[in-house]
C-alpha cells in the first residue's frame, strides 16, 4: 500500500523532535545554564548558532534541552487522559442507560468551560510547574477522548456484529476489548497526536504566564516570554524557540492526519 506523504513527513519531523529530546542534551555545544553576562544578547554566529539571551546563555543549547522537558511533560500529561478517556467512552457508549447519561452530562459540563480557564485554574490550585500541569490534564484531558469514543462506540453498538459477538456467548468485557476497541482505537490515537500538540502549546502558554516550568530549567514557553521584550531589536531570542514549537506542532499534526488516513477502512 502507498504511504500517505503526510504520514511520512509527520513521522520524520516527530522522529527528529524525539531524537533531539533523547540525544540533544548529551551533545549540545554549550552548557544551557551557563551565564555570561558580558556576552549577552549576541546575534547568531558560528559559536552561538541561535545567538545568546540577555544572560548570555546559548539559545541553541537551551532550545535543545527544552525539547526534552516539553516533550516529556506533554507525553506524560497525555497518557493518563488517553487511557481513562478511551475506557470511559467505550463503556459509556456500549452500556448506554443511566451510566451513559451520567458520563454525557459530566462531559457536557466540562466542555462548557473554556479549556484554558479550567487548566489555569487547576494549575493555580495544584501548584505551578510540571506537577500542576500533569494534575490539570489528568482531571480534564480525558474529556475529548470520552466524547469521541463514546459517540463512535454508540454508533457501532447498533451494528449486527456486536449483537452477534454477544449472542455467540462472549462476555461484555470481551466484546468491548476484542471487538469494539480495534474499531475505535484509531480515532483515539489520531486524537492523541492532536492532544500532545495542544498540551505542548498549553505548557508553552503556561510557561509564558509564569505558571509552567520554573526557571532556570529551559522551556520553550518561558524562553519566548523572557525574549518577548527583545522581539523588535533582537528577533532571534523569542523567534527561534517559537519556531521549535511550530516545527513540532506541524510534525504532530501531519502524523495525526497520516495515521487517520492509514486507519480509514479500505
Amino acid at each position: 500500500m502507498r504511504r500517505p506523504p503526510a504520514l511520512v513527513a509527520g513521522a520524520v519531523m516527530v522522529g527528529i523532535v524525539v531524537a533531539v529530546a533523547l540525544l540533544g542534551p548529551l551533545v549540545v555545544p554549550h552548557d544551557p545554564f551557563l551565564q555570561d553576562l558580558s556576552g549577552g544578547l549576541q546575534p547568531p554566529s558560528a559559536t552561538h548558532w541561535f545567538g545568546t539571551d540577555q544572560l548570555g546563555r546559548d539559545i541553541f543549547s537551551r532550545v535543545v534541552v527544552a525539547t526534552r522537558t516539553d516533550l516529556r511533560i506533554a507525553v506524560l500529561a497525555a497518557t493518563a487522559p488517553f487511557v481513562v478517556g478511551v475506557g470511559v467512552g467505550l463503556v459509556s457508549g456500549y452500556a448506554g442507560g443511566y451510566l451513559d447519561w451520567l458520563v454525557s452530562r459530566v462531559v457536557d459540563t466540562v466542555i462548557a468551560f473554556p479549556f484554558y480557564v479550567l487548566v489555569i485554574a487547576i494549575v493555580f490550585a495544584a501548584g505551578t510547574g510540571e506537577r500542576g500541569i500533569l494534575i490539570a490534564y489528568a482531571i480534564v484531558g480525558w474529556i475529548p477522548y470520552a466524547r469521541v469514543i463514546r459517540a463512535r462506540t454508540r454508533a457501532l453498538t447498533r451494528q449486527g456484529w456486536v449483537d452477534a459477538a454477544r449472542g455467540g456467548g462472549l462476555s461484555h468485557p470481551r466484546v468491548l476489548v476484542v471487538h469494539l476497541l480495534p474499531n475505535v482505537i484509531g480515532q483515539a490515537v489520531v486524537l492523541l497526536m492532536t492532544e500532545i500538540l495542544l498540551i505542548m502549546v498549553a505548557v508553552v502558554t503556561l510557561g509564558y504566564l509564569g505558571l509552567g516550568v520554573q526557571p532556570p530549567t529551559p522551556d520553550w514557553g518561558t524562553m519566548i516570554s523572557d525574549g518577548q521584550p527583545f522581539l523588535a531589536t533582537m528577533w532571534w531570542i523569542p523567534t527561534l524557540p517559537g519556531l521549535a514549537v511550530v516545527f513540532t506542532g506541524i510534525g504532530l499534526s501531519l502524523l495525526g492526519d497520516g495515521l487517520a488516513d492509514r486507519w480509514r477502512l479500505r
Binding site: 456484529w161 449472542g167 456467548g169 474499531n183 477502512l265
Partner: protein, 255 residues
C-alpha cells in the same frame, strides 16, 4: 410430554413507549423451517431480536421446555439461539479476519469437544465449506467479501456455535435474485441436516414457498394465521393471508 424446539407464547415487546408485539404465539420444531411473513413494520425483526434476547420482552420463550424469557446471562443460553441479521454490510466486524472470529467462538465453547487449536482450524475450514466458501476466506476481512458472501459467513458464524434455534432475518433481501436462492437453500438445508429449529423471516412469499415447512403470518404485531406451507398456498384461512397472496406479482408466460 416434553416439548421440543422453540415455543413462543404471549410475546409482548414495547419499544419507546409503544407496544410493537401484542402477544405473539408460534412454535418451531427441531429440523423444521418456519416462515414468518408480514409487511414492513409488522414486527418481524422485533420478534427475532426478542427471541435472540437483544430486546427485552414479556411472555414466554421456551427452548426444549426450558423457560428462557429475557434472561440471557449464561453464554450457553445465548449460544443456543443464533440470529443471522438482515444487513450483510453491518453483520461482520470490519476489523477482524473471519478465521479469527470463528476460532474465538469455537474456543469459547470448546468446539469441537476435546479438540485443540488444530481441531478448531479444521472446524473453521469445514464451516466455510459448508456455506460454499473456501478455506482462504478465513484469512480475509469483511471488506473483501460481496454481500452474498457476507451472508454466507454470517451463517457459518451462527452455525459455528451449534445452535438449536436459527433466526434468519430476511437473509436475502439485499442480495441479487440469483444469489438469494442459493443462500436460502443453504439455510434450509443446513438447518434440516443439523436438526436446528429455524425461523425464516421474510416478506417475500416466493421464499416461503421455496423452502418453508410452515407459515406464520404476522400483521401489526399479532399472528393472524399459522398453517403448513402447502395449505397456506392452496387454502389460506385468514382474509389478510389471501390479500398477501393476491399481491404476489406473477410472471405471465407469453402465449
Amino acid at each position: 410430554m416434553t416439548e421440543a424446539g422453540l415455543v413462543v407464547e404471549g410475546l409482548r415487546v414495547t419499544l419507546g413507549g409503544r407496544e410493537i408485539l401484542h402477544g405473539v404465539d408460534f412454535a418451531v420444531a427441531p429440523g423444521r423451517v418456519v416462515g414468518l411473513v408480514g409487511e414492513s413494520g409488522s414486527g418481524k425483526t422485533t420478534i427475532a431480536r426478542a427471541v435472540a434476547g437483544f430486546v427485552s420482552s414479556r411472555g414466554s420463550i421456551r427452548l426444549d421446555g426450558t423457560e428462557l424469557g429475557g434472561d440471557r446471562r449464561h453464554r450457553t443460553v445465548r449460544r443456543s439461539i443464533q440470529l443471522v441479521p438482515q444487513d450483510p454490510y453491518t453483520t461482520l466486524n470490519p476489523r477482524l479476519r473471519i478465521g479469527r472470529v470463528l476460532e474465538e467462538l469455537l474456543g469459547l465453547h470448546r468446539l469441537p469437544p476435546g479438540g485443540g487449536r488444530t481441531a478448531r482450524r479444521a472446524r473453521a475450514v469445514a464451516l466455510m465449506e459448508q456455506v460454499g466458501l473456501d478455506a482462504a476466506a478465513l484469512q480475509r476481512r469483511p471488506s473483501q467479501f460481496s454481500g452474498g458472501q457476507r451472508q454466507r459467513v454470517a451463517l457459518a458464524r451462527a452455525l459455528a456455535v451449534e445452535p438449536r434455534v436459527l433466526l434468519a432475518d430476511e437473509p436475502t433481501s439485499s442480495l441479487d435474485v440469483s444469489v438469494q436462492r442459493t443462500v436460502l437453500d443453504l439455510v434450509a438445508g443446513l438447518s434440516r441436516d443439523a436438526g436446528v429449529a429455524t425461523l425464516l423471516i421474510t416478506h417475500d412469499l416466493s421464499v416461503v414457498h421455496a423452502v418453508c415447512d410452515e407459515v406464520v403470518v404476522l400483521r401489526a404485531g399479532e399472528v393472524v394465521e399459522t398453517a403448513p406451507a402447502d395449505r397456506f398456498f392452496t387454502a389460506p384461512a385468514h382474509p389478510y393471508s389471501r390479500r398477501l397472496l393476491a399481491a404476489v406479482p406473477r410472471l405471465e408466460a407469453s402465449p
